[in-house]
Symmetry: C2
Subunit: 350 residues, 2 copies
């Protein structure tokens, strides 16, 4: 399948599941009292988002149950063992998207990223205190919603356990990310460990939790976790590439913001090892003071050092590893889709 | 029992359980990597704290299982139904204390309270970003630890559900508390609803979760929840009284800080209804600019309006209601202790 056809297939698959998620957002996370808190909590979720993680969750559920994509009601989904009550897989998908949303809200405060999904970040549209609380509210809501999947208690508990440890990893990863900014240099191992915790574990949870809830065997469950983890790392590396190579209007935020903020990425780390004075590429530290020409020159330097190519290759290897893991799953259309999603994650242009 | 004897009995009961909690803090919440994040996460927990909520949880566990206080290992606790594996009740106690600690860290950022338990608040000792993340880390850690209680899956899931909905209520309550500061006046109903969500639900969870985990019947479990909720409300009202009547050194923070920050309390609301110009009692808005004489005069005005007495009476009624709920429990020493704790909460002088 060529990249264009793959992009169409994956984007269609994501779009149809995004529609289901968006349609049911008000059901799972209604505008409760106090309204201002819930408006802030729902702000990022309502602003859009590709819904990649819930899509992976739903498709992984289809893959392990050998269900043709899009043919079953996600709120009443069949299980792997016969004769069990249906599972609300959409609740699990919603829970994972809500966790993602909580981390975005808190991260935007810490990074003072003022735009998110083309709209003002929560701490800008509301205020920092409300944004802290909005994130906190989403945090417990995600657990409440996951608890409502209707899975047998032991598997429900396993899924919760996975969600909780995932959240801990995300906090640890964000903490590493923040402290890396203050350090002279960061090794590739340290950077990948940070990406693993901050980003990849939520992809792993998205791929693994449906297998847990639906009663897949341990080998399948573990393989999906590894798939998610590999493509999650690749996703972040590709995001770092896009941050440098995509126009601001397409990104929905300032192009090269990582460079302006002095964030360590696998790209800057590689460039540093090639002798590039990364900290001197951009002179200003405020997005407004950086001209397009200055950013173009900085990106050209990173290109010349081979650093962007290096990151692209690393992302490709990770996706290949992730797809390899899927071999233990039954061969079906949903599994094909998971493979395509993995590849799409590093081919997407925004 | 006279108040002095009660205070001694309760303080002994709390002290011995506090010792168990403190001894095992490193086991349940070790100093993991990244260390700075975990140092910040453990900062408030290490700074001390009475451990009232874990004490209530452990004593409630003793009460429902008819266990003489302090005679069983909390990490290997007997259940109500015979023949079930032992429960790690200390894990549940730790989880509740960790949730409390998370809320303190985030609340201190929002209120810019700079001292906590006689030490610098986390956002002061570290920084606001680290404090946000430290709270977030404790949040998921509390869930992870509660998941390790060893209870049968269905009851473990019920306990998690209770913990998650409690956290949602706490966020809602804090949100109400923050928005109340911007409002002209707040009705007593609104204030009590805020206290219920912000404070009382965690007492309810502390009293109810051991009953859930240990397999007590529904009536007993519900009664303990109501007990916790009533004494939790009383606790907050008494805290509001203490904020005005206790010296700063004893409080571990500025006396009258609620008044300086313009926080609505049941006391200021009552005073307002009596015609007191509450907003003019204190002219400065910074703790440093408020003299002891000005604070003495403000408190005297509230005393004269009967507002402090009104709050004291309300707290007494709530404790009496809470103790009434305990009648469905077996009559034993632990149940007596729960009664004494309720009364002690509104007799304590700090």
């Amino acid at each position: 399948m060529d990249p264009e056809a793959r992009a169409r297939t994956v984007e269609d698959a994501v779009a149809s599941r995004r529609e289901v998620v968006n349609e049911h957002l008000d059901t799972y996370l209604p505008l409760a009292d106090p309204e201002r808190l819930y408006e802030a909590s729902r702000h990022v979720l309502k602003a859009g988002g590709k819904r990649l993680r819930p899509t992976i969750l739903l498709v992984a559920g289809e893959a392990v149950t050998d269900t043709p994509p899009g043919t079953e009601d996600y709120q009443s989904f069949p299980t792997v063992p016969e004769g069990e009550g249906p599972i609300d897989l959409l609740a699990a998908a919603m829970s994972v998207e809500i966790i993602q949303s909580f981390t975005l809200i808190h991260d935007d405060i810490m990074d003072d990223d003022r735009m998110r999904r083309g709209e003002e970040a929560v701490h800008v549209a509301f205020d920092a205190d409300t944004a802290i609380l909005a994130g906190d509210t989403l945090y417990s809501k995600a657990f409440e919603i996951m608890l409502d999947s209707g899975a047998p208690a032991d598997r429900g508990l396993d899924a919760l356990d996975r969600l909780a440890s995932t959240c801990t990893f995300i906090c640890e990863g964000q903490s590493l990310d923040v402290t890396f900014e203050e350090r002279e240099s960061v090794s590739s191992e340290e950077y990948m460990d940070m990406v693993d915790r901050k980003t990849a574990v939520l992809y792993a949870a998205a791929a693994e939790i449906p297998a847990i809830l639906l009663g897949a065997d341990g080998e399948t469950t573990a393989a999906l976790g590894k798939y998610g983890r590999s493509i999650g790392k690749a996703f972040q590396i590709h995001d770092d590439v896009l941050d440098l190579t995509t126009p601001s209007e397409t990104l929905g935020k300032q192009r090269g913001s990582d460079l302006i903020e002095g964030k360590r990425t696998i790209i800057t780390q590689h460039a540093r090892e090639q002798g590039v004075a990364v900290d001197e590429l951009i002179t200003g530290s405020e997005p407004e003071s950086v001209t397009d020409a200055e950013m173009d020159a900085a990106v050209a330097t990173l290109e010349e050092a081979g650093s962007i190519e290096y990151a692209r290759n690393l992302a490709e290897e990770l996706v290949a590893e992730g797809i390899q893991e899927l071999e233990v799953l039954p061969r079906n259309e949903a599994r094909d889709r998971l493979e395509q999603i993995g590849t799409y994650l590093i081919e997407r242009s925004y």
